[in-house]
């Protein structure tokens, strides 16, 4: 039930994110307006419609997080896969452990701070995408490595070898179909993690740059106690929490209780 609701909600958010939204249009007559029929979530300092910005920001955040998750899972599949097969295992596992031992968020902040800050919105999106994609491979790579290792010594792989199956078909027909669900699960749990990471970077001004909206830079409005008397400013926070929660709720959980 909760799972169906979560799936429904995510689909609704995805569809809503595709609605036309003039995120950059300024209504100079009514800056800082409260909710009204014309502006359901009011307008910001520059007179831009908050709802339009939220809709477009959802599109930017989800797209960016998904693309970055695809990138890091592709890296994880490649590195974890070859390590699992016993090639350069020590080096790859060592590198993954090194990455995992660093506090991820601080690493993100540090690397981002080293890169140019005064850049165009599209460049900022690209930098955030590459940053998340390149720094997040370690955890999924370890999972993929463990899975490939387990699969490659499994009975059915041994049996396939005993039938004379050539090496590449062994990988393509026997290993891949069994490693794929594990990789897809990693992809699915990486997306909400990256949504949160992008929001954190954005809120600190290190993510997607204005005027392009994202959940991260929409949260900047909450800085300095702007929330008092303006509860509608919480809309991006609620949406963020609901989407991240829904991603988690979609994953099927094993019941370990006895």
């Amino acid at each position: 039930m909760i799972r169906a609701l979560a799936i429904g909600f995510l689909i609704a958010v995805l569809l809503a994110a595709l609605l036309p939204a003039r995120y950059e249009k300024q209504f100079r007559d009514s800056p800082n307006a409260g909710p009204s029929r014309q502006f359901p979530l009011g307008t910001d300092d520059l007179g831009r419609d908050r709802l339009s910005r939220l809709i477009y920001g959802t599109r930017v955040s989800l797209l960016l997080a998904t693309a970055a998750a695809l990138l890091s899972c592709a890296v994880a599949a490649a590195l974890g896969g070859i390590a699992g097969l016993g090639i350069a295992d020590t080096v790859i596992v060592g590198a993954a452990d090194l990455f995992l031992s660093l506090p991820w968020l601080f690493l993100l902040l540090m690397v981002r701070a080293c890169l140019p800050l005064n850049v165009s919105p599209m460049v900022s999106v690209t930098i955030t995408f590459l940053l998340l994609g390149a720094l997040g491979w370690a955890a999924p790579a370890r999972v993929v490595r463990a899975a490939v290792r387990k699969l490659s010594v499994s009975d059915f792989m041994l049996q396939a070898r005993a039938t004379g199956c050539p090496q590449w078909r062994l990988l393509w027909r026997h290993l891949m179909p069994n490693a794929m669900p594990i990789l897809l699960a990693q992809l699915w749990i990486t997306i909400p993690a990256y949504v949160l990471a992008e929001s954190t970077l954005g809120m600190l001004g290190l993510g997607v740059m204005e005027p392009l909206p994202s959940w991260g830079n929409l949260l900047r409005e909450l800085e300095g106690g702007g929330i008092a008397g303006h509860p509608w400013l919480l809309a991006p926070v609620l949406l963020l929490a609901a989407v991240v929660g829904s991603f988690q709720a979609v994953v099927e959980r094993e019941d370990y209780s006895v």
Binding site: D155, R161, T163, G164, P177
Partner: protein
């Protein structure tokens, strides 16, 4: 004397620990040789050594394994791969674990065929020869839909797909209930008689060995302690370990002796 098909003399180490010490075995063309020993004595190690797959388990094999005119230990990996499945088939211990859980039976059969041949043959005669349903719907199933007995028949079908000269049955009946076990033993006997396939039947179960094999080799502490015809080993065991194994065969409390006799007579 029939021609020798397989002749081996090997020593095997795992991480510098020797598990097989100068073990010699010989299987003649069309013969069923039983290899008996307790769990962990290195029976499966011999099977993996013959198939050239010991390195997967981190083992190192020395000596020679003569199969027809080739020394398998000196064969190029590519040639060894061509031999596996085509000339030497393997029937494993755990049938359900030995089938790829995410691939349909038909595709697995096709995969095993394509490892050595092109195209796709008619599966019907093959499936019928191992008493499996020959319908299309059977081949569309996944391994999880099979019972252990059906899965083992399917694996035997896969192992004899290319009409090999030697079949290695590594504890192939150990995981089966007694009725299914008897059926599978009957199937081995039939394949041996109709196609002349030699079988290296590895087992810890002496009773099944007695009902199937022509000769028995007893493996104990990394060495072959006795190798002789089934009658000789069962009626006149030489080594104390062999006697211990025979004494350990479970018997029904009252009808034990007569059941044992009729079992031997049936063979």
């Amino acid at each position: 004397m029939t021609r020798s098909l397989l002749q081996l003399r090997i020593s095997v180490e795992y991480a510098r620990k020797r598990v097989l010490n100068d073990v010699s075995l010989e299987v003649a063309e069309g013969e069923i040789l039983g290899l008996v020993g307790r769990s962990g004595e290195g029976k499966s190690t011999i099977a993996l050594s013959i198939l050239g797959l010991l390195a997967l388990k981190g083992g190192r094999c020395e000596g020679e394994i003569l199969y027809r005119d080739w020394d398998l230990l000196k064969l190029h990996p590519r040639e060894m791969r061509r031999l596996r499945g085509k000339d030497i088939g393997l029937v494993p211990q755990s049938p359900l674990a030995a089938l790829n859980p995410n691939v349909r039976l038909g595709s697995q059969l096709k995969e095993a065929w394509r490892a050595h041949e092109r195209g796709e043959p008619d599966w019907k005669p093959l499936l019928e020869s191992v008493s499996l349903p020959a319908e299309e719907s059977f081949l569309r199933q996944y391994p999880r839909n099979l019972s252990v007995g059906l899965a083992q028949r399917f694996l035997i079908a896969m192992a004899v797909l290319h009409n090999p000269s030697l079949l290695i049955a590594d504890e192939a009946t150990s995981a089966l209930d007694t009725i299914t076990q008897a059926e599978i033993l009957g199937l081995f006997r039939r394949l041996n008689q109709s196609r002349g396939i030699a079988i290296l039947y590895i087992s810890h179960d002496l009773a099944s060995v007695a009902s199937l094999c022509h000769r028995v080799a007893i493996l104990h502490q990394g060495e072959i302690v006795e190798c002789n015809s089934v009658d000789e080993v069962f009626l006149n065991p030489q080594h104390p370990y062999t006697k211990q194994l025979i004494d350990a065969i479970p018997q029904l409390p009252t009808v034990g002796a007569s059941a044992m006799e009729s079992g031997l007579a049936r063979r």
